[in-house]
Amino acid sequence: MIELNNVTKVYDNEKKAVNSLDLSINSGEIFGFLGPNGAGKTTTIRMMTGILDITNGQILIDNNDIEKNPLETKKCFTLVPDHPEIFDAISGIDYLNFISDMYEVDETSRKERIEKYTKDFGIYKDLNQSISSYSHGMKQKLLITGALLPKPKVLILDEPLGGLDPKSARILKDIMKEHCINGGTVFFSSHVLEVVENLCDRIGIINEGKLIASGTLESIKQKSNNSLEDIFLELTKDEEA
């Protein structure tokens, strides 16, 4: 469902943020993308979603090339970014209707989904409020709701659990599992190793732009008897230190 072939991103002709990244994620999988700050996780997600152009390589989502066929590719996924920098002078319901129109979600479905997800996340009564008055967590919930509205084949989430309360985090985790059971794919980055450990079918660890480990949790753990946290720290430790 998601293919990253030799993907490289170079900033200002000198800084390699992502270096020859190869990844393959199947339908029905939850893939956890791990890495320390500045490892290249967000850059990878931005390239996957067409926000950043790719210096080298190819990204396919549902067999669509994000660079050659951006429109069809973007219809296959939705994104929840790490920082909810959105046009926030409008109300929550304006935003959700905007997203619904962009993905051509019919009125009955959007009503049903908006009511379901916003009630689950506890922001239903705030939908007529301006987004600028929302807390960080509320904005995050709104963005997640927006991403779920079109029922995309691929759900891409960048640090989705930051700012969520335990109940909402649990709801999101359940939604991610349900999405995969129904044949969808989830690609998400996170710092919370415990969540990745419990939720993901497969994980990828990126450090300094390079993929340093990839596979099921068991296959990564086979190399060591340590916990994921120890493995992560061992793999990503600064070699110069």
Binding site: I51, E72, D101, M102, S132
Partner: protein, 534 residues
């Protein structure tokens, strides 16, 4: 007192840094140069007006009226500018939450914030009042009392408008703190301010050109200045104080002291009722939720219009650029500088077509909003990039938004023109054609400017519009377009003896240019647009 001093220094440093950052110039020498040029460009006309006004008032043996008039002008400006600034500093400042947690008194926070407003208003006093006091001082000989009371008057001048504005804000805090009222307040106060500036400008020009008018105006007590001066006694007290009257010094100081004490007394209420609300969210809406489906075009145009409407800086920039030609014409009509008879005169009649055309297309000329249509979106620009929208559509609806806004502005002006100017149906049709083509051309051209210079990581909306070099480039392109028009006029001189035909020829040239530019945009610059990143 030490804490208050520290707070004031912090607020002043913060304000000064914001002013410097808003210029968006990183080179320190260039920044200094720009600041110097700006200061000179502000002071030069102010000094000139002071000298001209002094000479005019001296002719009627009342040179001291220069201080009265300039003080009244300065107070009006400070009052109208003070309202939005105080509202912004108290209700919408992001540092309020931080300051509340510090171990300082509420009064200290209020007075430290007011000090930044005071310094800003003192700048206005420096532009308007100080040159007039100095001119008076030079003109009448250096007397110690004029120097002493002049200095006191200059430093005290911002206090009254500042305190009156603050008390008004306090009285209406319940309404002002609501976002929608804040936007309306900002826009309205700035429109009033623009009108006031134009009125002052027109009055000064009139007085400078016709000194006898001052004498008759003062004698008949009909002039704007004498009217406001007599109904605003502090201006008379200040003038007499500078002339050496101790009684008026007491009056002037007394009224200022009274307002300071009132504000001091109300400071805590001000803090509780106003500042604390900056941490409270919007008013709860009881509207029903809607789930209506709309087209992508509707949603994108609505989004770009709302980006303007919901941000006071963008709204003000757009509205004022639309309204300035209207305000100017209306005021000129009221001040009788511009009459219908004048338009019917033999000298003006041949140029009527040209005047009407420029008047109606002025929104497209002045309002270069397309040059910031990407920039305005700021950090939210990523949103549309991640959505399944074709880049060409994304570009198209951004330009359409500008065209829609400018067309509304031009349409209002066209209706106004039909009432003001003796226009025929043929003239109206030609002006309409010219307006449509010019609007299309400039909206497309400006958008290309923004593709080449998208500034998305701005922290304050002012940086996105006023201090964006794109605006200057866009204005420069209009000068080039004007030069093209002039060139056409020169080339066709002798062949074409009607401005109607000239406007049609220019329209055709602009239409061809539009198609070339449009082709370039949608075929060669889409990739560049797609590469724009936050």
């Amino acid at each position: 007192m030490k804490k208050l001093k520290l707070l004031i220094m912090l607020q002043l440093k913060n304000s000064w840094k914001k002013v410097q950052n808003s210029l968006n110039i990183k080179n320190k020498k260039l920044l200094l140069l720009v600041q110097t040029v700006l200061i000179i460009s502000i002071f030069a006309p102010a000094i000139y007006f002071s000298i001209v006004s002094y000479k005019a008032f001296s002719q009627i043996n009342q040179p001291e009226l220069i201080i009265t008039s300039m003080y009244v002008n300065a107070v009006i400006l400070m009052f109208f500018l003070g309202i939005p600034i105080i509202a912004s500093v108290f209700f919408f400042s992001k540092d309020t939450k931080f300051l509340i947690t510090l171990p300082v008194t509420e009064t200290d926070i209020i007075f430290s914030k007011l000090s930044t407003v005071y310094i800003f208003l003192l700048g206005i006093s420096t532009i308007f009042l100080l040159p007039s006091i100095i001119t008076y001082l030079i003109g009448t000989g250096f007397s110690i009392s004029v120097i002493l009371f002049g200095i006191i008057g200059y430093f005290m001048a911002p206090l009254l408008p500042l305190l009156i504005s603050a008390l008004i804000i306090l009285a209406f805090n319940k309404y002002i703190r609501k976002t929608k009222y804040k936007n309306i307040l900002t826009v309205l106060s700035n429109i009033v301010l623009t009108i006031v500036i134009i009125v002052i400008q027109l009055a000064i020009t009139q007085y400078a050109n016709n000194p006898e008018q001052i004498q008759s105006a003062i004698l008949n007590n009909e002039s704007f200045i004498s009217m406001v001066g007599s109904s605003f006694p502090p201006s008379i007290w200040l003038t007499k104080m500078i002339l050496g009257s101790v009684v008026d010094f007491v009056y002037f100081m007394g009224i200022n002291l009274l307002f300071i004490l009132t504000l001091f007394y109300l400071a805590k209420t001000f803090f509780r009722k106003s500042m604390m609300y900056s941490t409270v969210s919007n008013v709860i809406s009881k509207k029903d939720l809607y789930f209506k489906k709309h087209s992508i075009a509707y949603q994108l145009i609505k989004r770009h219009i709302l980006i303007i409407v919901k941000e006071p800086t963008f709204l003000l920039n757009t509205v004022l650029s639309m309204l300035v030609p209207v305000i100017l014409v209306v005021l000129m009509i009221f001040s009788k500088q511009f009459t219908i008879d004048l338009l019917s005169s033999v000298e003006i009649k041949p140029y009527m077509m040209l005047i009407v055309s420029v008047f109606v297309i002025s929104p497209s000329i002045v309002s270069n909003i397309s040059s910031t249509v990407i920039t305005r979106e700021g950090k939210a620009f990523w949103e549309l990039k991640a959505l399944p929208i074709d880049s060409k559509l994304n570009i198209k609806y951004r330009i359409w938004t500008t065209i829609a806004i400018n067309t509304v502005g031009s349409f209002i002006l066209l209706i106004l023109a039909i009432f003001i100017f003796p226009m025929t149906i043929k003239m109206t049709a030609i002006v309409l054609l010219f307006t449509i083509i010019t609007t299309l051309l400039f909206a497309t051209l400006d958008f290309i400017v923004n593709i080449y210079r998208p500034i998305l990581n701005w922290t304050h909306p002012t940086a996105a519009v006023k201090n964006n070099l794109n605006v200057m480039i866009a204005l420069g392109l209009r000068v080039v377009a004007g030069a093209v028009c002039y060139l056409v006029y020169i080339i066709t001189f002798g062949f074409i003896n009607s401005f109607n035909t000239l406007i049609i020829i220019i329209s055709i040239i602009f239409f061809i240019l539009y198609f070339i530019i449009r082709y370039q945009l949608y075929n060669n610059l889409v990739v560049k647009f797609e590469k724009i990143t936050v």
